[in-house]
Symmetry: C2
Subunit: 350 residues, 2 copies
């Protein structure tokens, strides 16, 4: 989280802008919180250029809950297509099977998720309710730099994207999207808020077993307040949206994210000591898994990193190695500090 955002939240904790109460004390139906909520929705709509035919919903349960909530709302045809490109989409496919038949449109597990079959090669169903894609696989470091154009691929199904771990890091081509969802805890900030952006024609078709609190029609009708929303989390998300505006918007963050990722990948690719194993066309700008070619030096590497304040570099246990997560809030200087350490460690150990 940007420190200036945390400082603002601290300053407003007991008295939000002269209202005499903190955000956590506000009724979600009072005019103060309604104002905070509407500003957050409007700012997000502007930042991501979300067209008017899409509704913006704030929900709860994170991306993992949406793995069930999406099919509970959208799978009425009984069949969905899922592109399996890493751990997250693998989980999405497994969860959707509780509610409908799942066609695996592509499966990159045989390549250890280091590459993704071109969408032109995917096996899409004629009658799918939707096609699910995780556009940034946090654990495997795989990102779609362009969204699949389903119509060009012969599918009339809406595209559902899980953009949890790279939301607001780049613009979204909404002409290719039916629904986008994401937990807020990566680029937005507070855990406990789930963002859902859904085209209006996809609302109102939930299965009868869908809980009311997770039926997009109910949530949309009540402006995300059918159940009490996570008020403080929505307020914090709003502060992040304003911070992004001050950074120059999403395009400016995208340019910065491209520069950050290039700095790190360029170093890894020329190194004799470290490597990233993801096919260059699919490398994530948010999550960069990398390996020491001599893995016996992993512990020494992590100890040296910690001594420099470079934390949370250990890779996910399912992949091993290292992983640098370089979300929006990470400045270029932070990536430079990591590359400096990688270079010195390599020189020292060579």
């Amino acid at each position: 989280m940007p420190v200036e955002v945390l400082q603002q939240a601290a300053a407003e904790m007991t008295d939000w802008r002269g209202s005499g109460m903190g955000v956590m004390e506000m009724s979600h139906r009072g005019k103060e919180f309604i104002g905070i909520y509407e500003q957050a929705v409007a700012d997000l709509r502007a930042l991501l250029a979300i067209p008017s035919e899409f509704r913006i919903l704030f929900m709860q349960g994170g991306g993992i809950a949406e793995n069930a909530i999406v099919p509970l709302n959208l799978s009425r045809a009984g069949r969905v297509d899922v592109a399996v490109t890493g751990s997250w989409s693998q989980k999405s496919a497994a969860e959707a099977q509780r509610y409908c038949s799942v066609n695996v449109a592509c499966d990159a597990s045989a390549q250890d998720f280091r590459d993704v079959p071109s969408p032109a090669q995917w096996r899409l169903s004629a009658d799918a309710s939707y096609v699910h894609v995780c556009t940034n696989e946090t654990i495997h470091g795989v990102e779609f730099h362009e969204l699949p154009d389903l119509r060009a691929l012969g599918s009339n199904a809406p595209l559902v994207i899980d953009f949890s771990s790279h939301v607001l890091s780049r613009p979204v081509d909404w002409s290719r999207v039916g629904l986008a969802f994401g937990g807020a805890q990566k680029n937005i900030g507070p855990a406990g808020v789930t963002l859902v952006v859904v085209r209006e024609d996809l609302i109102g078709h939930a299965l009868p077993i869908c809980p009311s609190a997770f039926d997009y029609a109910t949530v949309a009708k009540h402006d995300s307040m059918y159940n009490t929303p996570p008020t403080f989390g929505i307020y914090m998300a709003g502060l992040i949206f304003q911070w992004i505006q001050r950074q120059g918007g999403v395009a400016a963050l995208q340019a910065r994210n491209i520069a950050k990722a290039q700095l790190l990948y360029d170093f890894l690719d020329q190194s004799a000591f470290f490597e990233n194993r993801v096919s260059p066309a699919w490398r994530s700008r948010m999550n960069v898994p990398f390996f020491l070619k001599d893995e016996s030096r992993n512990e020494a590497f992590l100890a040296g990193a910690k001594a420099r304040g470079l934390l949370q570099l250990k890779g996910h246990k399912s992949v091993g190695g290292m992983r640098a997560s370089i979300y929006n809030a990470m400045p270029l200087e932070g990536v430079q500090a990591l590359v400096d350490y990688l270079r010195e460690f390599e020189k020292e150990q060579a």
Copy 2:
């Protein structure tokens, strides 16, 4: 929220106790947040004297989501009993019907929810998966001061209580309870955290259509971290638990809540101008709906209240009149200020 708790949260916002990061920046898998989580669970267990055979879960979606999540987890026998004693239990009964057959064990709607049939008169099923009771009906101001003893009533089903709006205002007789749930936004504080306390033998029987993120077995197995938990909300709940300890614990709050409620009801009962219409045995200590006998003076009453800083007194639209919510954080002095205003308004208008 107690102001000292908000001040503590503000002071720790950018640096939690020398860790170099704020709670909102912590990984939920890091040792700092795990410590915060474990302390909150231990403090809550001590405050409410929760026996070891119960698991404490922090979930998301509030009481309204639990109206679906409870039957998704517990209704395997296909039938549940619900005591309909106000708006909240009415909603619970309607939602459960998505998943099982619902037997209305009692229905107080014919009495406008001003009274509750004695549990001895309830029509309990022989084969119910559970019996659902909302132990404090926020809108109608109806509270169970004693939990029904289902075994004494001839039912072997576990009792499920929705204690959202009076949790931590008094002790709980766990020998009569199978599962208790509550949204945190009344007596605990931060919206977006749902508390579930469930006896271990009731875990592990979810219907196949239950989303993984809401399956108590999955949540319990992962210590509430199968999906990313609402970390900041759990931290705030923990601060409230410590505040309750400093107040002398739940028994001390109960004594204070009894005194607060008695002060207000005693005034209303002797007044010729105001009235509470709930049967005395069922009056809530948290939510006190009351009416001006001459309702044409409602607007003048609310305007005078606002001028004194007595806010949020308008009753729920389904009931009308006025409502005073006197949760744990409301001191006796706050109730005294309300009674003083009621007395003066009555004298002035008489």
